[in-house]
């Protein structure tokens, strides 16, 4: 399941929902707000989404992951709103019987979410300026 969250991401809760007794492998990715990006010193940032389309596209990506890889559970939550340095921006977790599927599915979900889900990052820099971030 893919969700947008206006509140801090609780990775422990998400992890509990993703683990499975039949699964030998769990892989997760966490994206954190860094204190710098593309050479600029970052103060905070805001993520804006097109919510209805974002949740639809996010869930579509997770369904694709289930079709492509032998996985048992997969969750992704993306934070929206204003975030500070050290806040978690995105969490992706996958359980599978074998490690290969878990790694590949986690990477697939993350990459597709970053490129396809309508979410935009607006950074506030320490020089007082702000701007919309282009894809890296």
């Amino acid at each position: 399941m893919f969700r947008l969250s206006e509140n801090p991401i609780n990775d422990n809760d998400l992890k509990k929902l993703t683990l499975d007794d039949e699964c030998g492998g769990f892989v997760c990715f966490e994206g954190w707000v860094r204190n710098h990006n593309q050479g600029k010193s970052v103060l905070k940032l805001a993520y804006e989404a097109y919510p209805k389309l974002a949740e639809k596209e996010g869930n579509q990506i997770i369904e694709e992951a289930f079709e492509k890889f032998a996985i048992k559970k997969a969750l992704c939550t993306h934070r929206i709103g204003t975030l500070a340095i050290g806040d978690m921006a995105v969490w992706v977790g996958v359980s599978a019987a074998h490690r290969d599927a878990a790694f590949k599915a986690c990477r697939y979900i993350l990459d597709e979410v970053k490129s396809r889900v309508p979410i935009w990052k607006n950074e506030h820099w320490t020089d007082g300026e702000s701007g919309w971030v282009e894809q890296e």
């Binding site: 993306h78 490129s115 979410i119 607006n122 919309w132 894809q135």
Partner: protein
């Protein structure tokens, strides 16, 4: 004449100085609507990088628009 609600996201909000517009148009598809909207843009974005959606579904530039539609213009995603 059709009533269309247009949504702008990310940097496109700044280019149109709005996050949405309600307008009446004779345009028959999204491509024509966009050309019309360009007249009120403060700069010209890279059209090839823009994705379009109609009523909360991704669609093509050639998609026909109807009265009451909500049309969204989306710059490249930068989540994650």
């Amino acid at each position: 004449m059709k009533n269309i609600k247009v949504l702008f996201f990310g940097k496109l909000k700044e280019i149109w100085e709005n996050n949405h517009l309600n307008l009446k148009t004779e345009s028959s598809n999204i491509e024509e609507l966009y050309s019309e909207l360009l007249k009120s843009a403060s700069s010209e974005p890279f059209k090839s990088s823009i994705k379009v959606a109609r009523n909360d579904e991704f669609c093509d530039w050639s998609t026909t628009i109807e009265d009451g539609d909500e049309v969204a213009f989306l710059p490249p995603a930068s989540g994650g």
